[in-house]
Symmetry: D2
Subunit: 116 residues, 4 copies
């Protein structure tokens, strides 16, 4: 079993094809599913303090892992449908982030880059 | 430059450390940031038809790629903070999905597994 | 029973006070809860076509009504905690929207105001 | 100018009609727009502590007010398209919440009703 994102993409692709779900997997619908799953991830943390979120109970950690899995599955799927390489896109975005948030200006502050 | 998720995780980790942002990167806050970015991904598609979402303009496709990148960056980061391997979690979830949605019952339907 | 938003606000306020939940109802946490509920609303629609979403089954319509209720409850609550009148804020925003989207320029197009 | 939700609903309805936007305002699309706006509300709070979120700067409070306004506008609009009275739905949900979270059991705890 491949451990990289391409392997996961292929598995999700085969899963959808075996169920004839291509018809439902428009990028629009997949963006909704991804966002709904990210909402379930929020739910794990919404009443916890930040400190509690850094030291989850085993049950909460399992719940978080399952929602992270769901988000990643839909992320890989929407990227596949759009012909986007998500890791390459993230790498490019990190280059941009380095410019938007120079370490010396951004250190220790939670300000947005437009306010630095 | 490594092309896998571990490489991205290391880059995001170094980026945060160089800015002394560990203090802001609680799992709670990262879940919020991930969800906010998934909302920006929604925004790309909200007024498009499904057909239009399958044939994006170059500008819309670039916008989608950037939001997918942002979601992936925060996903990798929250998983790192929680000690979760996101690909392994997704692989486990796919095993569960195979059971929840048997191909013969789920074929061609958009029903939830509880209604199959 | 009052039918306006002030009545709902008072009811939610009393509900939280009776449970000693003020401690959990920081605006940060309430924004998370509101967003998680909006994700549940997405889930009702994610695999439906737009046409299907305009002609919901009774079950789906009930599900949508419950999620709309949840969003409104948290919206009223976060506005209360921040001392914001949500209807007045929406009225002010509509004035802004009238300027951002002049009817003659925005007619029949789904473009963002920055592209009109 | 009416100050209740019906007045806001009528204003949003007229706004959409004057722009021939009925075609874009399917419940599916409006759920996406509502969720995208709730993501912008998250963004206001994502790097703040809970204590900071209870004592916003004037700029952050204005930003929160604008996002609350946007969420309410889309909430009123989707409810209108579905023929749902949002305040009545919220009132019904509060009755349900009273049963799910009896004050004596739920006092001072952030546990979900399934764990009480």
């Amino acid at each position: 079993m491949s451990k990289d994102l391409d392997g996961l993409r292929d598995q999700v692709r085969a899963f959808a094809r075996a169920r004839d779900w291509e018809q439902f997997h428009s990028p629009k619908n997949l963006a909704m599913a991804l966002s709904a799953e990210s909402g379930e991830l929020l739910e794990v943390f919404q009443w916890l303090t930040e400190a509690e979120s850094r030291a989850l109970t085993p049950q909460a950690r399992n719940a978080a892992a399952e929602e992270i899995a769901d988000v990643l599955i839909y992320l890989v799927r929407i990227a596949d449908q759009l012909g986007i390489d998500p890791i390459a896109a993230a790498r490019e975005k990190m280059v941009l982030n380095e410019k938007k948030y120079p370490a010396d200006k951004a250190r220790g502050t939670n300000k947005k880059y437009t306010e630095l």
